[in-house]
Assembly symmetry: D2
Homo-oligomer: 139 residues x 4
């Protein structure tokens, strides 16, 4: 399965007075790319939620290499970094769409839990098909 990059224009309201995209927005772009990634692998959030499972964000990190400007188009490449029964790590690589030059990289850490009672759950047991896809995508 090949994951296509998520493509996105940088918006005016995302700039700050330094004239660049404010660093907090990349966290939101990671989320957009993650949502798109789930769609690509056939498990959009709605479907996972309808199965009673949710992913919470446990932590994240982000490294800024170069600025993105209003009007730039970026592509965000999502990569599964790790997956266990209870947790996963997703990586993000943001690059300029036109030149391919790197902009930002990051990771988000998640754990799986039941919506009903907010208790941790084994994804392998709850949605084995999704667990297998996650594992198969780890390079």
């Amino acid at each position: 399965m090949i994951i296509l990059p998520y493509v996105r224009k940088a918006q005016f309201y995302e700039t700050d007075q330094m004239g660049v995209i404010h660093h907090s927005n990349y966290i939101r772009w990671f989320e957009e790319a993650r949502v798109d990634f789930m769609r690509q692998i056939g498990f959009p959030y709605e479907r996972v939620e309808s199965m009673g499972i949710t992913f919470a964000v446990l932590g994240l990190s982000c490294e800024y290499r170069a600025s993105v400007l209003f009007g730039d188009t970026v592509r965000v490449q999502v990569e599964m970094k790790a997956c266990s029964h209870s947790r996963m790590t997703i990586g993000y690589d943001v690059a300029d769409e036109a030149t391919g030059e790197p902009r930002t990289t990051g990771e988000t850490h998640h754990f799986f839990f039941k919506k009903k009672n907010a208790r941790p759950v084994s994804l392998k047991r709850a949605i084995p098909e999704l667990y297998d896809i996650f594992c198969s995508l780890i390079p």
Copy 2:
């Protein structure tokens, strides 16, 4: 009853590349001031919601007179403009805290509905005490 202005610092992440607070943020400041207003009159959102009632935003308008800069402190004066059984209009006056100079004015229009079934409700019947406060605050 005297409604005190809501005081607030303009944040760096709220600026845009023109070097001023992006115009979309005032809508959020109106909400912050509205939440504070409800607290001041003794009906914080939590209390109203616990009574099964919610306010939805029907519409809004905003006029920009002068820019707010990062680091400026503003005060938002809330004023009840109108209230009927089913609807209300709240006005906002944003001014520089230091100089009193006008920055932005706006209005939000709301209607009242039951949380349980999302149906419109008469505030006068549902929470008469709150309805009376709203009416008493119209200048």
Copy 3:
């Protein structure tokens, strides 16, 4: 000249605890659609700015008809409402992409000014070609 609608997915981070897109985000979607509109008519913001002219937001209004949910795709139709030498009004019609059902409508009011000295300017004199396009698009 036919202006195509701007198409956009509603994002998770744009929701609020009522389970719908927070009303402040529509102001940002209007801006995205406006930027796209300028691109469609051959005058992207960068080009207008490189000619020394900028549009400031003087005011706006917004009416909410129905909620947008996370995962919904909307289309925003931009329409020139009015244009004078010094000002213009742009209208926005947000509808569900799948069903065409109305979601939100709004307007933004702008005036034209010189970047160099922040003084009002006649668009008709500064960029007559753009002024003519704006006028030709008023229905």
Copy 4:
């Protein structure tokens, strides 16, 4: 020198459809607290910028321990973690103001550069007084 915590109310527009503050907002709270920290030590951003120096964000990390809800008040304790001639790391500890219970921790990494030419600069040479304060605050 004792750094006081930065106190802040969680806003309605910062919630998401899970009913909690969306994780991207903590990055913005870190910035608010950082701005307040600079003010406390006598070097507000405006002053540093007027000396021709700026801090860029190189990277950040964030760990989420427990959710913050609309209406909660949090305090953000800022702590200098490291400082060299060219870089610094700042830590953040977000806790519930009422109970002291931990909510989120994080770090941001910065480097110093000249505004004029965007080149890295030695803070020790550019603003030795500020460099000394940063160093003295490392526990």
